[in-house]
Amino acid sequence: MTINIMDLNNNLYLQDGDKLMLPKRPSHVSVVGAVQRTTVASYNSNKTYKDYIFSAGGLTKMADIRKAYLLLPNGESRLVDNNTVIPVGSVVVVPPKIDKLSILGLTDIISRVMGNIATSILAINNVN
């Protein structure tokens, strides 16, 4: 059984065989998603999310910076802006844009459908 000793109100008496784990405080902020290179940047309380993205080489063309969010060490998440307090050990996530259908993509789909229809018509004509 694992117990967080910070959650206990009273003293905890350890027994033989118990293990006391003191995790090291992290010293980084991770940057993942639509950035040039997923990275683990050194933490500084004065840095903004843009500084961390800069550490990751910047954004890719696919990045949707307006929807960038922060994954906190406690599992919660929130959208980030330039004023957001970024704690040590958190993860800055830049999601990719979910593209609307581009003209090229649309043309490709239409031409394929038309091609299939034409093939079908030719086949039916041949059978007739």
């Binding site: 910070m6 060490p73 802006d81 004023n83 307090v85 704690p87 040590v88 050990g89």
Partner: protein, 298 residues
């Protein structure tokens, strides 16, 4: 004899009226109240507060040990306590410069929420006088300000302003009334501002009646809390011309806590709507900025 009970309420809130920083006040609080497990801090904006932080002692001591308060922000409970007055001993200089109408206003808080001051106006002629105004908290999300101006050799002018922040804090509704006693002079304005449109600007839509002229305006506000550029259009009813205007605002240029210096340059003739009340800085979204500003251990 009737039985009587006394309810004592524990006050865990630190004072904001001293010259000490919040960190120094929190330290002092935990030294004087070693049994307390948390402390309440209400960050102050222009003599008022809305949200409070309940800061746990254990987390505070650990964060102080690491000289980093960023994780403490998320470990502190944030509560909307509604608008409240905090101690305010501020002095203000407001300068409005427009083509035909410029003002210089010097004011000082004389009581907790009453301001008194002097003004110099240059509209048609130069006038000098005194003003007195008082902030009033109307509700949890609404603020009002009532005041009078008395210029030399002129009738007294009554000013009233209000602003109400929407429940989701994405917009605010504002209004202004300006009336000169013993005259037909009445200006009334009302409008709404939507914040952070596309994370880029605020959009304001307003309508006002000045001297029987009804004027509508729409403008976008770019910039941060210290420097704002407003660009928009206004149109007088029954007049087909739509005019473009701009306002450039520098707020708290000296960056002093108790000495506000605000300068506005405007291309508009009327300065009636230039000094609206706003509750934008009291939103939950602004807590990060306040935390970074005040909670540092250096």
């Amino acid at each position: 004899m009737l039985p009587m009970s006394v309810h004592a309420r524990e006050i865990n809130q630190i004072s904001t009226d001293s010259s000490k920083s919040p960190v120094e006040n929190i330290d002092q609080f935990f030294i004087q109240n070693s049994q307390k497990k948390n402390v309440i801090w209400a960050p102050k904006v222009k003599g008022k507060s809305k949200y409070t932080f309940s800061i746990p002692k254990n987390a505070y001591l650990i964060s102080k040990n690491h000289a980093d308060a960023s994780d403490l922000f998320y470990l502190s409970e944030q509560t909307d306590s509604g608008l409240k007055f905090q101690s305010n001993k501020s002095k203000n200089i407001d300068i409005v410069i427009s083509e035909n109408n410029s003002n210089l206003i010097l004011s000082q808080s004389i009581l907790s929420n009453i301001n008194a001051g002097l003004f110099l106006k240059n509209k048609e002629k130069i006038s000098f006088g005194v003003n007195l105004n008082k902030d009033v908290i109307i509700s949890k999300n609404a603020l009002g300000n009532f005041g009078v101006e008395q210029a030399k050799d002129e009738y007294m002018v009554f000013n009233a302003k209000f602003v109400k922040l929407s429940n989701n804090e994405n917009s605010e509704l504002y209004g202004n009334i300006n009336h000169k006693f013993k005259s037909n002079h009445l200006n009334v304005g009302i409008g709404n501002t939507w914040f952070d449109i596309a994370n880029q600007f605020d959009l304001t839509l307003g309508i006002q009646e000045q001297g029987k002229k009804v004027e509508s305006e729409v403008y976008a506000t770019f910039g941060d809390e210290t420097t704002k550029l407003q660009i928009g259009f206004d149109q007088i009813k029954n007049n087909s011309n739509m005019n473009m205007f701009f306002n450039l605002k520098f707020e708290n240029t000296l960056n002093k806590e108790n000495f506000g210096t605000n300068i506005i340059f405007s291309s508009k003739d009327s300065v009636f709507s230039l000094r609206n009340l706003s509750l934008k800085s009291f939103r939950k979204k602004n807590l990060d900025k306040l935390w970074k500003k005040y909670m540092n251990y250096n």
